[in-house]
């Protein structure tokens, strides 16, 4: 997961690029003819200073390696953001990013 966060005029803009296959469960492996099991991010959250500032819930029709941009008020330069996603198979990735 790549995270970039920048603050300007008291608004922090966060851009996230999560590395994930986002398998829908409907794709078929052409060599074996078997269905590729679903594997997709269900929830992505961002916390700042102990508060949840953003929650994204995804279904299967979000693109591979999901991209997300959002912004919130009140972040300061040097503050830490805690990001976390979990997928339908129980995999979790956490990432801490500093606001620039």
């Amino acid at each position: 997961m790549k995270v970039k966060a920048k603050v300007k005029n008291n608004i922090t803009t966060v851009r996230v690029l999560a590395k994930h296959p986002m398998e829908t469960g409907r794709r078929v492996n052409k060599e074996t003819g078997e269905k590729i099991p679903a594997k997709y991010i269900q929830e992505l959250t961002c916390e700042h200073d102990g508060n949840v500032v953003f929650v994204a819930q995804f279904g299967t029709s979000v693109s591979q390696n999901p991209y997300l941009a959002f912004s919130f008020e009140g972040g300061k330069k040097g503050d830490a953001l805690q990001l976390r996603w979990n997928d339908n198979t129980g995999d979790v990735e956490k990432k801490e990013a500093k606001i620039k």
Partner: protein, 152 residues
Amino acid sequence: MTVSRRKFLNLLTVGSTACLALLTPITSWAAWASDAFNATKVDDAFNNLLGSASTTESDEVKLKVPKIAENGGAVPVSVKTSMKDVESISIFVKDNPQPLTASFTIPAGTVADISTRIRLAQTSTVTAVIKAGGKLYSKSQEVKVTIGGCGG
């Protein structure tokens, strides 16, 4: 060693309870709206997620999505609004196998302005729904897809 029928049944019960105990945390810690995401009809997805399928068309909902997408696998979408008290932003793709694509919670202090990339299985109407002050506002636009995005 012989296991009596009763003992065997007891073992089964203990085993399955342990399995359940192990499984519950995985399903319960995520507040993921599974019913809405698994719905295959737009109205069901709306009802499950937002409690209603009737929305007010509004130009205050700024939906930015290309009219023609060469690759349905990654269509950039942005939704923003200047409305107050925004609670959530959701994106629906009418003709996808599962119409609800993504839903974003907007707590107080977070700006109602999001961007992401979505998949379109085929040419379809994309609808952005904003819940503000307990009411639902929407904006739709058709996106023509020349190559499908769901590996079909």
